[in-house]
């Protein structure tokens, strides 16, 4: 079991001794049942840290933000940032290291094992409660989760509430860590890897397109899926020409002739371009934290797009994203035995 008190005292100690400049973790929010991300700098704040099945955010996202701020700082604090990381979150850190976004010594990983369970999928809760929110969700050992809603307390089997990514998880504790809370766990036997992606491609091409057409039509283009993704760190986004950075040196000509790959209109065609471009740009980089799908206000099953590509990376190239940051990335490596049947 992850002992939250031990996590808190280590966090306090790291801050006290100045080993980290700040620490990113989870705390209880005011907005409802889900924990919220927090960044603490004072040892006294460590007691607000929590670890429970509502700690959904992939906190590696905030390491990206930290790094951007460091890059802009005149006298950057060179000490590492502490971060609480689940198995999937630590894989995100691995990819960021692999891509040289920051260095290993810039981050101190307080790994937390998901052990027997994992984190909840709010949409499964919503389906169960028909849109209502519970007041509390807690771990209840191997059995599942204790859900309190409307004054009632129910024990829900893990399988029924776990996010699909947790059901399919191959590594439920962070391989990359500086300290690990809880047991080392790999597969937990809920579902085989890529089950959902495999099931989705059973349908005919027409049926698949009809499904995605419906979803792209529902997309409101809030860009939350992009904003929450630790791998979407580009300062300029190809699907959004208005993010292209203007400097005093950018000429009117350049601004006027920028290609708009994707219009602002939230319709099927433009939203398909957005989502498919994002999926392709994440191929071999998505660590399946499922945050894009989790934050989607209209519940578009975005994870299916990404896991489909990761499945191909695994099946064709035996590549597992975020497994080892010292190995080259999928797109920057070549092996003689790599399949090349698609090269004509």
């Amino acid at each position: 079991m992850v002992n939250v008190d031990e996590l808190r005292s280590l966090a306090a100690e790291l801050l006290e001794q100045g080993q980290v400049r700040s620490l990113i973790g989870y705390r209880r929010g005011t907005a409802g049942v889900l924990a919220e991300p927090c960044t603490i700098a004072a040892p006294g704040e460590a007691e607000t840290l929590v670890w429970d099945p509502t700690c959904l955010n992939n906190l590696a996202l905030f390491l990206v933000e930290e790094r951007k701020q460091q890059a802009a700082a005149s006298a950057p604090d060179k000490r590492p940032v502490g971060v609480v990381a689940k198995g999937c979150d630590s894989r995100a850190v691995s990819v960021l290291l692999q891509e040289n976004y920051f260095k290993r010594e810039d981050v101190f990983i307080l790994g937390v094992s998901c052990e027997g369970t994992g984190v909840i999928d709010p949409r499964k809760l919503s389906a169960r409660l028909k849109g209502r929110w519970p007041t509390r969700v807690e771990f209840a050992g191997e059995d599942g989760f204790k859900v309190s809603a409307g004054g009632d307390e129910t024990l829900v089997p893990a399988r029924e509430l776990l996010a699909d990514r947790c059901l399919e998880c191959r590594e439920a504790s962070p391989r990359l860590n500086d300290v690990l809370f809880g047991e080392v766990v790999t597969e937990r036997g809920f579902d085989e890897p890529f089950r959902a992606a495999k099931a989705a491609q059973e349908a005919t091409e027409d049926a698949r397109w009809a499904t995605w057409e419906r979803h792209f039509d529902r997309c409101v283009r809030c860009f939350a899926c992009r904003a929450v993704c630790p791998m979407c760190y580009c300062p300029e986004c190809v699907v959004d020409s208005t993010t292209f950075v203007n400097t005093p040196g950018t000429s009117a000509e350049e601004k006027a002739t920028r290609i708009r790959w994707c219009e602002r209109s939230a319709n099927v065609s433009e939203s398909a371009v957005y989502h498919l471009t994002r999926a392709i740009h994440l191929a071999g980089r998505c660590i399946d934290c499922g945050e894009c799908e989790r934050v989607c206000p209209v519940n578009i099953p975005l994870r299916l797009l990404n896991t489909k590509l990761e499945m191909e990376a695994f099946q064709q190239f035996e590549y597992e994203v975020g497994r080892d940051f010292e190995r080259p990335s999928l797109l920057s490596s070549f092996r003689d035995e790599d399949p090349n049947s698609f090269i004509r």
Partner: protein, 343 residues
């Protein structure tokens, strides 16, 4: 006008509105959202608030202003003011009803927006009072609303277990009730007391409280340069959920979209835009006066609780709580205004 509608007769009423496009909440993809009522639809009004507010029916995310093309070398513009079917939205929660007058003000005060009003005038909102707060972040009563407010609605229905109490509020509302004919029953003597009891019970249910609502506007002005904004926006990811799902956010962008084989053929479109995107205030020079997330959070909150009050003498927040429940990182407008007011 007050009537009783037994739940099994809801469909009969809807069927009398056959020249209307009728929309009702539907639970699909694990989320409540408005969907068109078809012949086979079983209307289910047990909904929490819908993910998208009804503002989209007057102010859609994409509106074509006009089409342009080049004919014999001469540009030709074709106007495209919409002419929609009358549209009736069932089950509008009172917070969302209250959002519509805010939008009406914006689209008419200085300039009457023909696109907005072409849709708005054909829109009938049938509200459903909340018998309890359906979301953990409801705070309508803190911002001057109530779970049975009629503001902005054409009809208000109240759920009385086996039947709805139906009250016509506007001309449009009276008309759709009259159209229902036999679908409705007469109100009995004790119904009024029962409605009042249900409303009073709903008002007494706890909601998220804003401690000193009247002090908020002044506090935002005073705390404009406070470091609090930075602290509160620290984990903001800069997405558009809070604004796009808001029943009163109305900012938009305009673009020319080429639809033909050359740049001379296309449409000028208005699309939703929002103050949380960096490019919202980006100048062509590259300078951005609202350059960080803190400034953007402040703008969103100040627009609702300060600028709108100064400009239109009403708050631009109806307490629906969508921006709180939908925020990926837990940014909570109730906590934000409380902290600003107390500091």
């Amino acid at each position: 006008m007050e009537k009783i509608l037994f739940k099994e007769k809801l469909r009969q009423w809807v069927d009398t509105l056959n020249d209307y496009e009728v929309l009702a909440p539907a639970f699909a993809d694990s989320v409540w959202d408005y969907a068109r009522v078809e012949a086979e639809t079983e209307i289910d009004l047990s909904h929490t608030n819908t993910v998208n507010p009804p503002k989209q029916f007057a102010f859609p995310q994409r509106e074509v202003f006009f089409r342009f093309e080049r004919v014999d070398g001469v540009p030709r513009l074709t106007p495209t003011v919409p002419d929609p079917k009358p549209t009736l939205v069932l089950g509008v929660r009172p917070c969302d009803g209250r959002g519509m007058p805010c939008n009406d003000t914006v689209f008419s005060k200085e300039y009457r927006d023909p696109y907005y009003w072409a849709r708005r005038e054909k829109l009938t909102l049938v509200g459903l009072a909340c018998n309890e707060p359906y979301a953990p972040n409801c705070f309508c009563q803190s911002v001057g609303g109530s779970p049975h407010s009629t503001e902005g609605l054409d009809v208000l229905m109240t759920d009385l277990v086996d039947r709805f109490h139906v009250r016509g509020i506007t001309e449009k509302g009276l008309e759709v009730i009259e159209r229902g004919g036999d679908a409705f029953d007469r109100v009995k003597d004790d119904d009024a007391a029962e409605v009042e009891k249900v409303h009073a019970a709903a008002r007494s249910r706890p909601q998220r409280p804003v401690a000193e609502m009247d002090a908020v506007a002044k506090a935002i002005r005073e705390q404009f340069d406070s470091p609090l904004w930075e602290e509160m926006a620290r984990h903001c990811i800069g997405c558009g959920i809070c604004t796009y799902l808001c029943p009163t956010c109305h900012c938009f962008d305009m673009n020319d979209e080429v639809t033909g084989p050359n740049a001379g053929t296309g449409e000028r479109v208005r699309t939703w835009d929002n103050c949380q995107f960096p490019e919202f205030t980006m100048h062509t020079s590259g300078h951005n006066p609202r350059g960080d997330l803190a400034a953007r959070l402040r703008q969103r909150v100040a627009h609702k609780f300060l600028y709108f009050v100064e400009n239109h003498a009403t708050r631009q927040c109806t307490g629906c709580g969508r921006c709180i429940s939908g925020c990926p990182v837990g940014i909570d407008i109730v906590a934000v205004v409380d902290r600003v007011t107390r500091s």
